[in-house]
């Protein structure tokens, strides 16, 4: 199966299950909107837009993973690190909505499924890993890069298994589930590595030059020591 199946089209999963997932996605996104209000200040609003644009841009670039298998980034982990879990989920959802409306990428009726997999499952997995890993790894650009890499690989695979779950619930054809699960996991490990490399370089660069912009480091940041005070 092609890795682009990450964007589920219309008609792959049946109507009732799609509808259930729309309700689920809307409910979770409502929580995100409510939680994001506190976060989305003057600084974070443009950052959220850039993260969305960046995810959008790299999702347009399908890169070759294996002969015949192309894939693209999901971006959830990158979003989590730079803008936090709530705004991050909203960023990825925005990208998915615009893509399905304007680029016919992913079915309109499958939007609930796609948001659940990529925007909710992917970012949730990414967030939990980032939060965990940053406790162990050094809070330096390098450590953050490593965190981004590991979290990306895992979150992409987790997101791909979301499709397996949905297919099990409402697949319109009868395919062997272990086979789907295995294929999805296999190709998505490779995609995850690509995604991980991009997320790691990006996050490490930002952390090196503008640590103030990295949401994941907010909790750990020391107050800035002004030169004046020292002088």
């Amino acid at each position: 199966m092609d890795a682009q199946a990450m964007h589920i089209a219309n008609g792959i999963v049946n109507g009732p299950v799609s509808a259930v997932f729309v309700v689920f996605a809307v409910a979770v996104l409502a929580i995100c909107v409510w939680k994001a209000r506190a976060d989305l200040d003057d600084r974070l609003a443009p950052m959220a837009g850039l993260v969305a644009a960046f995810i959008f841009a790299v999702q347009m670039l399908n890169f070759q993973v294996l002969p015949g298998v192309s894939g693209h980034l999901l971006g959830g982990t990158l979003a989590v690190i730079l803008v936090g879990p709530w705004v991050g989920a909203l960023c990825v959802s925005t990208v998915l909505i615009v893509q399905c409306l304007l680029f016919a990428d992913g079915g309109l009726t499958a939007i609930g499924l796609n948001i659940t997999n990529m925007a909710l499952l992917g970012t949730a997995a990414g967030y939990l890993l980032v939060a965990g890993l940053l406790r162990i790894l050094p809070k330096t650009p390098g450590g953050l890069g490593a965190t981004a890499f590991i979290a990306s690989v895992v979150s992409v695979v987790v997101a791909s298994q979301g499709f397996v779950l949905e297919y099990a619930l409402g697949g319109t054809t009868d395919l062997s589930l272990p086979w789907i699960s295995g294929t999805m996991a296999g190709t998505h490990v490779l995609i995850g590595i690509g995604e991980g490399l991009i997320a790691a370089t990006t996050v490490a660069t930002v952390a090196r030059v503008r640590p103030d912009l990295v949401y994941a480091l907010r909790r750990f940041r020391k107050p800035v020591v002004l030169e004046e005070v020292a002088a």
Partner: protein, 260 residues
Amino acid sequence: MIDVATPALNVSRLHYAYPDGRAALRGVDLTIAPGERVALLGPNGAGKTTLVLHLNGILHGGGGTVEVSGLPVTPGDRPAIAEIRRRVGIVFQDPDDQLFMPTVAEDVAFGPANSGVRGAELDARVDEALAAVGMSDHRDHVPHHLSFGQRRRVAVATVLAMRPEILVLDEPSSNLDPASRRELAEILESLPVTLLMVTHDLPYALELCPRSVILDTGRIAADGETAALLSDRELMRGHRLELPFGFDPAAAAASRADRS
């Protein structure tokens, strides 16, 4: 310089360091009376742009205060900030930072539209501002498909259209052709506003601004009459300022006297 009225701008003990820790302002004090025209001079990297970005609360948080016509610039206070941004118009040093709408006309309309101007009045403002900078023919073009100098002119128009009380220009004349530079000077001279102009073009400063302030390494190094500052060789040399090749202050003074 007259302290009877509330000053148009009052900056006091302003400090600022960029996120990477580099200090750009180290205690700036500056008071400008309503209607005054002041040139802000100083070497590259002195902190001029950084100071300008404090005047409407874009940068803040390093210590010290800024007041616009008596109103303190407090970043948290949204209505006050909105009011201040209506009063202070800033032309940025890089026109690419200023232009973002899909067409020139929409870009010029953006500011007035945000302050509630609509319909025919909005159109009139846009036309007037574009005519002032000689860009009426380009109203439907995409801003970033213009030449650099044309973008600079549109950038000036976007701010003129807002009719600010205090006009702050960061290197407005750079990349303008000589005639546009003179035309801009004429426009600026005719506007009944308080003016603060950052420039490296000393003759231009002398032409437009009776008073000048020199900023260096984040501190005010001198403040006085432009003609006096420009003739103080010692001071000028100390701050990487020098009159250009072929510029004759005497000739300038004479031609200035001629005109006025």
